[in-house]
Symmetry: C2
Amino acid sequence: MVVYGRNAVREALRGPRRVGRVWATAVAAREAWLAGVPMAVCDPRQIEALCGSVDHQGVCAEVSAFRYATAEEVLAIGERTIVVLDQVQDPQNLGAICRSAECAGARAVVIPERRAADVTPAVCKASAGAVEHLPVARVRNLTDFLAQAKRAGRWCYGADGSAPLPYGTVDFGTAPVLVLGAEGHGLRPRVAASCDALVAIPLRGRIESLSVSAAAAVLLYAACGGATGRD
Amino acid sequence: MVVYGRNAVREALRGPRRVGRVWATAVAAREAWLAGVPMAVCDPRQIEALCGSVDHQGVCAEVSAFRYATAEEVLAIGERTIVVLDQVQDPQNLGAICRSAECAGARAVVIPERRAADVTPAVCKASAGAVEHLPVARVRNLTDFLAQAKRAGRWCYGADGSAPLPYGTVDFGTAPVLVLGAEGHGLRPRVAASCDALVAIPLRGRIESLSVSAAAAVLLYAACGGATGRD
């Protein structure tokens, strides 16, 4: 696939994927992080044609297919937060949540195989390249995954705006699973029922909900203990 | 102006602006929140032509101009968080931050008059209508505003990824001012120098920064004390 955008290409160069050809405009080619990278200099329209987006910031790169992690892999290492997304279909939201998860120090993001955004170049861009460093697992069935996580000793917390339990009163422990639903729909009932607890982010204004990416950022920093910079 | 999108129109109907004509597709016109609202039913292309966006979700409305608050108005009521944005130029980011600010219970958002996004219909849409309920002030000079806020007894905290002080170790008190800079640039030096303290959101991964809207969500919930649902 062809990834595009400054951060997405830079992190692809720093991450585990094989990077093939790199194309950059004359201006982008002079950026320090591209020093020493073999590339073809071309004009912005050629880059747009190569990556299929106007949002390329003057650079794109051919990279090997995104390798999804397995449920077993993400559950194997115990002590970090896992984020599970229930049918988040907007690539911008998936990318934004991957970015926040990587920054907060989460272990992985888990998405279902069907009716969900997968890791396209648009997601790589929206994640600022975070998906190059953060395992993303695609699983057939989220409730099965949550059951597997619970058997592995993890507690699963679903985000639900109408839950009576504010997230700030919860001790997430060291290896929680955070489950978030799609914007406007929330968690599906079976997914919610698979959680150990449902937690709310209190709303103090008049509008009905946070965006799923803002909710994820708030919960990730609460659950990963990132607030103080200590483990 | 013509606002568009389900949440943006609904909140305009619930907020202080005068709403003139409302247009909806036959499908959107049947939604419960539009019951009793006089409207013209038309096809999606007509709505697109009226609002100038494909992102209208079947509904748009003519509303009176957005009324910006003044610095004096937002400083007059003491006990709530104020968010100051230093040259955030992306309407999606401005809208997303207004949405999180309204949800977290912030008092207002303050933006500079120049080199910043203002409250366009795209911002109304991105904010999910939050700007209808949240004062947004446009000020000539941010450093003057911060000085004014400090004279009014408020503490000003700038977000700076390289600051040694993690936000979770800070007691934000009851009426802080949170200052965030543009994505990729951070705070301008004079704005940073006008803050009482600079605080960091610790990064535990390999990428360089959170998005400004994720950072705003994390700091807003930390500063507004929204975590526990108590005041």
